[in-house]
């Protein structure tokens, strides 16, 4: 027998109370794990954005296209390294509900700007030569089971094909990946020229421009120069860093961060009250026993540590199970949700954060009863007990 055994015996003396309290903590950490992974998924676009990448969109909003001539004009601005452009295709596969991210891009420059993407040279060369070819991301290939050489009909909910209908047929020429696992590869790209020539309306506009600067330190200067260049024109621009652009895009859904913080805060606040109250009651019930231990010669600080250990153990039992279950849930649903929420994983940083929260929860809920035990006078302990 040792102190840890005494802690364990005290913790397990009321099994139902232990179960209910652990269950409450379990739920809190299950929610924490799940929503943190959700936030991580939503933020992955922001996190993986390059520091020196800028996005140029129409000042009205990003759904309004820009004249094609802007590409060369932007290229000539001082500090601009590489420029590419893209058009939103509004793609879906087979069913309109089965939407996919599809973009018509400038093939020669796309990989210069998105240099974190990795593709085999022969696949890239094949695609550059094949106007009806498309490249798909590794995650998209996995989700849809497409392989190189497959002919895939992709439809648009915006554009019509010149030959009628809304469907284009593409050949999978290659599959690209990314240097970092967090980088989204759940989309497809195809030739802008093919798009322009086969669509029935839309002219020769581009959706948006993406460029890299010589250095992230001149981002602001370059962005201002671009917007100044097109000021007072029919298509004024708004240039921002890719990070800011992605963040703004995400915030159209609402302040995700605030929503998630509120949910987690409420869950933890409730748990703090519940567990704190339970610990106070549990220790108050044992006032007499604490007085006995002190009488036998147990030092106050030793009893203080045992109670703190008890609350920490409680927090870690519920917390670790909650985290483990959230891991399993995320593993289970990440495949199904991969099309909407890429990279939904219980990352190392979420696990570390959760462990810190368990430590804080255990400490905060245990400190009050532990302090009461520390200060307990033996005689008043016997009188109260």
């Amino acid at each position: 027998m040792n102190d840890l055994f005494l802690v364990y015996k005290n913790l397990t003396r009321k099994k139902m109370r232990l179960f209910l309290t652990s269950f409450a903590i379990f739920i809190a950490f299950l929610i924490f794990g799940a929503v943190s992974a959700l936030k991580g998924s939503l933020d992955s676009g922001i996190e993986m954005s390059a520091d020196n990448r800028l996005v140029v969109v129409h000042k009205t909003n990003f759904t309004v296209s820009l004249p094609y001539a802007y590409v060369n004009k932007v290229k000539s601005i001082e500090g601009v390294k590489d420029v590419t452009h893209a058009n939103w295709f509004g793609g879906y596969y087979q069913e309109p509900a089965s939407q996919i991210v599809a973009m018509a891009v400038e093939p020669q420059t796309y990989f210069d700007v998105y240099n974190e993407l990795v593709i085999a040279p022969e696949e890239k060369q094949r695609w550059l030569k094949n106007q009806t070819g498309m490249l798909i991301g590794k995650r998209m290939a996995k989700v849809y089971g497409w392989k190189i050489g497959d002919r895939v009909p992709i439809s648009s909910n915006i554009f019509s094909h010149k030959q009628g209908g809304h469907t284009w047929e593409f050949v999978v020429d290659g599959i690209f990946d990314a240097e970092e696992v967090q980088t989204d590869t759940g989309y497809m790209i195809f030739h802008y020229k093919y798009f322009k020539e086969t669509q029935s309306f839309g002219g020769s506009n581009v959706g948006w421009l993406v460029l890299t600067t010589d250095s992230s330190s001149i981002n602001e200067k370059v962005a201002k120069a671009i917007d100044m260049e097109f000021a007072n024109s029919q298509a004024e621009t708004e240039t921002s860093t890719e990070k800011a652009f992605n963040k703004a895009f995400l915030e159209q859904l609402g302040n995700i961060g605030l929503i998630i913080f509120s949910v987690v805060f409420m869950a933890f606040f409730t748990i703090l009250i519940v567990v704190g109250n339970t610990m106070v009651l549990a220790v108050r019930e044992r006032t007499n026993e604490i007085a006995v231990l002190k009488t036998l010669g147990f030092k106050s600080i030793r009893i203080f540590k045992m109670i703190l250990m008890e609350s920490l153990l409680l927090a870690f039992i519920g917390g670790l199970i909650g985290l483990a279950v959230s891991y399993l849930v995320i593993q289970g649903v990440s495949e199904q949700l991969a099309r909407f929420l890429p990279n939904m994983v219980l990352s190392q940083s979420i696990i570390i954060q959760a462990l810190v929260y368990m430590l804080v929860l255990g400490f905060v809920t245990g400190i009050v009863p532990a302090m009461s035990a520390l200060r307990l006078n033996i005689i008043s302990g016997f009188n109260r007990g």
């Binding site: 027998m1 040792n2 102190d3 005494l6 015996k9 005290n10 397990t12 003396r13 007499n288 026993e289 006995v292 231990l293 002190k294 009488t295 036998l296 010669g297 147990f298 030092k299 106050s300 600080i301 033996i378 005689i379």
Partner: protein, 231 residues
Amino acid sequence: MNQNVIFQLNNVSKQFVKGKESLSIFDGLDLSIQKGDFVAIMGPSGSGKTTLLNLLGGVDQPTSGEIHFDNERIDELSENQLAKWRANNVGFIFQFYNLMPMLNAARNVELPLLLTNLSSAQRQQSVKTALELVGLTDRAKHMPGELSGGQLQRVAIARAVVSDPKLLLCDEPTGDLDRQTADEILEMLQLLNREFEKTIVMVTHDPAAAKYANRTLHLDKGQFVEKELVT
């Protein structure tokens, strides 16, 4: 201090302050207890019997005066020093046993040994010996809820003697027991006093219990009236 004296109280006062009122329990109390003595302390309710026991056991401190135990002044010790002193020198036996409900009899007896440097095997051996002494070897794995009042008090006695303290302090040890069981417990205390030379101080209301002691001190209004009893 005489080498045969284990406890020496000199001019001890104890006052309790409650709100604006101050209540004096003792005022200038003197007491001497010999090594190996078995002392019963009797007196009416509120006479300060338990307060005296608390002072002797180092769970309370006098307002003034000196308490010597084996040539050591315990009234000057800090809370932590007193805790260590109690662990080394005193075994406590309570009226309501005060066992830990979540531990079996053997574990309850082992508790004071957690304050020693004994190995697990040594602790188990000491627990076994203590339970043998009180005749409860076969109840070692029983939980307190599964034991009778007499058995609970035997476990409490085993816990009190397991670390071999010089002094046993008993607060109404038979107050919750029937006559026959009480006599068994008192015989056990007498055995510990006579055979194992434990100094015992016992607070009791029961004159029959006091007869087991070598001497009885009557406490009244903070002063002793000593009567020698035939044992």
